[in-house]
């Protein structure tokens, strides 16, 4: 049963146990009328009744950077280390200050810490299969839970909007989105003469790339989806659709490098935010087979920074970085 948060019970909570009551009493002044305003929201875990204007939101996983950007009223977040280099200074500061209620993996969720944050909405941003690691029933005892997780990497556009919508922060969100779309459109026009006619390939470094393998990303993957907004096409498709991100990327053996990029006219590869090359990509770049690729021989190989963007503001950095990297294509 949900922990009631009406003023009457909040008083009782303060007497009984600090776990929940510690923060609950602070909300006691809020008018009950505001709380009564709810709506039904469709999420991965079904149709959920949530407050129209949530005041205290807990976010985990991919929802963390999206919520930070949308200026949602956050009171607790999971750690999200891979997103840190992409955050603006302001978001970064908020990220550091907010109480952490879970580690990098869903299994490390500290339910009591969630309860202690006393949210009125919990937004879970983990991929569907990982939802099994979370005790949703227990979270639902604390507050309404909406699970909005990615399946394909490029879906961050819809998902982050949905997450912001749940948190009642659509206005701030849409402002950033419009800015991104305008920027992407401008860049698409800039590259209209060259990019659309080219076949691109991408070497990534996302997930656990095993020794002796490389990651090839196709349309709609982490390293490719933002560049696609500039008019690029990453040709081909995965050999076996593995579901989720494995529909748009694969990890072939290094022996298959020549076959993978035989037709690629341009190859992009992921680098870290500081510009250094991650080991799995370096392995592909150092391979004797790399030097024989047509795109490499033609000198059309470009590093891409900020490929892990999953929010509009961070994706603007990706656009800038891609613009910088691909400029040589224009000077021909």
């Amino acid at each position: 049963m949900p922990i009631a948060r009406s003023p009457k019970i909040a008083g009782a909570l303060a007497l009984a146990l600090a776990v929940v009551a510690g923060c609950g009493s602070g909300d006691a002044e809020q008018a009950p009328a505001a709380e009564a305003q709810t709506r039904v929201f469709t999420a991965d875990n079904g149709d959920i009744t949530i407050p129209v204007a949530p005041k205290r939101v807990v976010a985990t996983g991919y929802a963390v950077p999206a919520m930070l950007e949308a200026d949602a009223p956050l009171v607790g977040i999971s750690t999200w280390q891979r997103g840190i280099p992409l955050m603006s200074d302001e978001d970064r500061k908020r990220y550091e200050e907010l109480p952490k209620i879970a580690g990098e993996t869903a299994a490390e969720t500290n339910y009591e810490a969630v309860a202690q944050a006393d949210p009125d909405l919990i937004v879970i941003g983990v991929p569907k299969p990982v939802l099994a690691d979370i005790d949703l029933k227990r979270l639902e005892q604390i507050a309404p839970v909406v699970a909005i997780g990615p399946s394909v990497p490029s879906m961050w556009r819809e998902l982050s909007r949905k997450q912001a919508d749940a948190a009642g922060s659509l206005a701030a969100f849409d402002a950033v989105r419009d800015e991104y779309q305008a920027k992407a459109k401008k860049l698409a026009e800039k590259y209209a003469a060259v990019l659309p006619g080219l076949k691109l390939g991408h070497v990534g470094a996302y997930g656990e790339v095993a020794k002796g393998n490389f990651q090839r990303e196709f349309n709609g993957s982490w390293g490719t989806n933002v560049v696609q907004d500039m008019g690029a096409t990453y040709y081909g498709e995965v050999k076996v659709k593995g579901g989720g991100s494995k529909d748009v990327s694969e990890y072939p053996s290094i022996e298959e490098l020549p076959a993978a990029f035989a037709d690629a006219e341009v190859i992009t590869y992921s680098v870290k935010p500081d510009g250094s090359v991650p080991p799995p990509v370096q392995y592909a770049l150092d391979s004797p087979l790399w030097k024989e690729l047509p795109a490499v021989k033609a000198g059309k190989v470009f590093p891409l920074r900020y490929t892990e963007a999953a929010t509009y503001r961070s994706a603007m950095r990706t656009l800038d970085a891609a613009d910088e990297a691909l400029t040589p294509l224009l000077n021909r």
Partner: protein
Amino acid sequence: MNALVVRKGPFSARLERRPLVVVAALVLAIAVLALLGLCYGPTWASPAKVFDALTGARGGSNVVIRDWRLPRVLAAVVFGVALGVAGAIFQGTTRNPMGSPDVIGLDAGAYTGALIAITVLSGTSAQLAFSSVLGGVLTAAVVYVLSLGGGVSGLRLVVIGIAVNATLTALNSWIVLRAELEVAMAAVGWNAGSLNGVDWDDLAIPFAIIAVLLVLLSVRSLDARQAALDPALAVTTGVRLEPLRVQLVLIGVGCTATVTAVAGPIAFIALAAPQIGRRLAGAPGIPLLPAALTGAVLLLGADLVAQLLLAPVALPVGVVSTAIGGCYLMWLLAKEVRRS
């Protein structure tokens, strides 16, 4: 402290009093640790609050203590008892302090069963429980049969267990590597050995199974003690040894596999608890009650450490028990070398 008190007594009283005192001390330790487990959380709840919550109404703020912390603490106690008992049975049967179910690969077998349930079947919790128990039983049977001929006693059974463990672990990682991403994630999560997030729904059936097994065990334990003390004497008093052994081992396997099915593999509790319990009780053989209570103390303690270490991030208790238990095993071996 206990020993000191006891030594002042007459010799005849010592044998009877010491186990009693030890049992009382262990129960006290369990009570204190359990209370600590109920109090500890992101917000410390005073014992008075805990008491209020336990006796008060359901719902409201009592949810955290009654429905979140209490199942976790009780699971640690019951599972600790089950693992301690399983360890005592195995070590008593093999007459070997290293002959515990986790060392000889029962965990790996139960994991194989669980993996098959997740990959081949649909992976419901009933299938998971059944096939992990089955995997554990089959592994125990294989290890037992392979060690026949040289007698199950001695390190032989243990090393055969290690070999079976290695093969099964290799098989398990192959299954995980083959599996689709979603399945692999679920499987790896299961392998961590954690009590994080257990609630009443997860515990009803396992508690019932363990209760039945413990009742069965207490019925047979008198015979078992006799067999452990002096097999020859036990035979002359009409105890049939082989069937007894098989029954006891089955109870031990059942306990281990049930725990593994719910919480994943929690290594080394079954190894350490009987030995510590035996030393505390100062009794010959491997007494069941001290082993069971020590198991509960160890698992409660390890789970608290797992929660404290990286708070607020909850570490799987299996990681803690493996690191501590491995050190304990080395110490045990070193001690034996010095003695011999």
